[in-house]
Subunit: 97 residues, 2 copies
């Protein structure tokens, strides 16, 4: 685990109401998690497909642009997906007011 | 255009640094826009695929949950996609600090 990942984890852990944090490599394999196994694997696989879609959409609109971060608000939680070169981080938190 | 859509447009127009707002029906057809035609059609089609992916991902994680809003940060802009029953709204704004 690189210092960069540790720094990212530390930064996201400071967010209010964090339910869980998962670090996923670009093959969709979770390499670090604060959640239980089944939930981790489920989030990792689905968020990889969402991040890939976001990346495609942004490039399709402007090939010189780049996807940086998604915040997805749902009725029950807020999910943040932030990619890096070799992995992406998923943060699940209670919805904020 | 329903009062609900007008209210949504008014709400999003108040956001800082808004570059454009597009209202798209569930077939991907733009029904209202503040941007030029080609850009509008491009955003409408791509954001429909992103919103559909987000909806699928959220339901797959929890069938009792619902996707409410996406904020996608890119190097050059922030794109917000907010669905409703019969349409969704896309807001493109300059990235905030």
């Amino acid at each position: 685990m690189s210092a960069e990942v540790e720094e990212m984890l530390k930064r996201f852990s400071a967010f209010k109401n964090v339910q869980g944090i998962i670090v996923v490599d670009n093959d969709g394999i979770p390499i670090k998690t604060t959640m239980e196994y089944t939930t981790t694997v489920h989030y990792a696989a689905l968020m990889q497909t969402l991040a890939e879609k976001a990346r495609q959409v942004v490039l399709d609109l402007d090939a010189a642009n780049e996807f940086v971060l998604i915040r997805m608000r749902t009725l029950k939680s807020e999910i943040i997906v932030a990619p890096s070169d070799d992995y992406f981080i998923v943060v699940i938190q209670d919805p904020c007011d």
